[in-house]
Assembly symmetry: C2
Homo-oligomer: 228 residues x 2
Amino acid sequence: MAAQRSPLATAPAARPDDGAGPGLRERKKQQTRDALIEAAHRLFFSQGFAGTTVDEIAAAVDVSQRTFFRYFANKDEVALAVMADAEDYFIDRLRARPAEENPLEALRAAIVESWRELGSRHTGPGSVTSALELMRMIEDTPTLLAAHLRRVTEQERVVVQVLAAREGLDPAEDLRPAVMAAVFGSVLRAAHLSWSAECEESGPEDMISLITRHFDQLGPALAGDWRH
Amino acid sequence: MAAQRSPLATAPAARPDDGAGPGLRERKKQQTRDALIEAAHRLFFSQGFAGTTVDEIAAAVDVSQRTFFRYFANKDEVALAVMADAEDYFIDRLRARPAEENPLEALRAAIVESWRELGSRHTGPGSVTSALELMRMIEDTPTLLAAHLRRVTEQERVVVQVLAAREGLDPAEDLRPAVMAAVFGSVLRAAHLSWSAECEESGPEDMISLITRHFDQLGPALAGDWRH
DNA sequence: GCAGATTATGTCAGTCACTGACATCTGGCA
DNA sequence: TGCCAGATGTCAGTGACTGACATAATCTGC
């Protein structure tokens, strides 16, 4: 049973069962996984992360604790699952950006696209309002923050690969992709911190404009085209 | 009993007890702490991090498990204690750099100074050879890597504060200190990865030259003086 | 539909990290 | 010397996580 991530936008639940779709087994597994994530978020948000036991989450979905751990390696993972999905989606968007764009343009466009897609979900743990709560929870739960930063760092390495491939550079010899990814990461993290520090509930457009404003501050110094 | 870090260079053990020194109680606590770190590293390096229990570490120093947890909040912390000390030392060095230097020069000089100081220790868990082993262990122990990255991110925020203070900027308004810290962080991390990827044992000079080479790649584009 | 191979799940027992409460012991100090 | 604060030990408990094995559900070829 390999861990399977949902795409950012869950497949429509009401799709009639045509022959070509995934089998019943697959669908049930996906359901269980989604239910676990949803129950976990609900409990985390009402009782706090530390105040929620894995047994409670499992009980809420009516599976055994052992089954929970077959879906998620640890308690952190179920909390960060939607972040992981979103990050994967971002990487997809980045890969899809036209080659003419310079790295910074591509990164900016990909992250804006991702947040816009996220904004189109209005219910469930993947919705924008949950994203805000989730980020607050991550910030003040040390173990979650640590796990999240590990994920982010991992993703940054992927970004380096993608940027290097776009520009035809060897990331082992040329530091510019790594530097660009680091700068991008710091911009994102700064925007995240600003966003979760605000007291008011705010929508995806607020987040997008926050990111955009941070990007604009970078100035043209870093936006140069690397190709000769 | 607040957690007390040793300075990077431990005070000479043979210093005769003059009246002004810390009391016996303080000294014993420091001894216990050092002994715990040393035993932990020895066990981690021979049996692996996951293969070593806290009880073993405590038993090796002949204290109770409960006492271990009064010195270190968790198993990660004892593994990363020397890193934490080194990072604190680096921040001190950075604060001490002359104001005329531009940010990049100051960062580079401070990190080189730190590694040189580290290189002067030849025994114990703070020595350079241990540093290499330690970094390898961190890289392939997910929980350790996560905790380490959390520490690093925290330190990066301190670096941002220091840089902003040096240049008389408000880090909330001007992103340049944050960007510079991120770039610095990526350079360091790249150097660390290269270093721990090498098969041969290597000394502090190798690490310093590795860092220097990475720095040189950054080019003068980022080294500009921010003051008018 | 059915037998048999796959695969998901439940149960159970166990290990280990970590914590609160309380008793005890030791160094600091009048 | 004798009191006090702070360090340590003991103990019991919780909760995350794992391996082993039995059971139940799906899938596959017929």
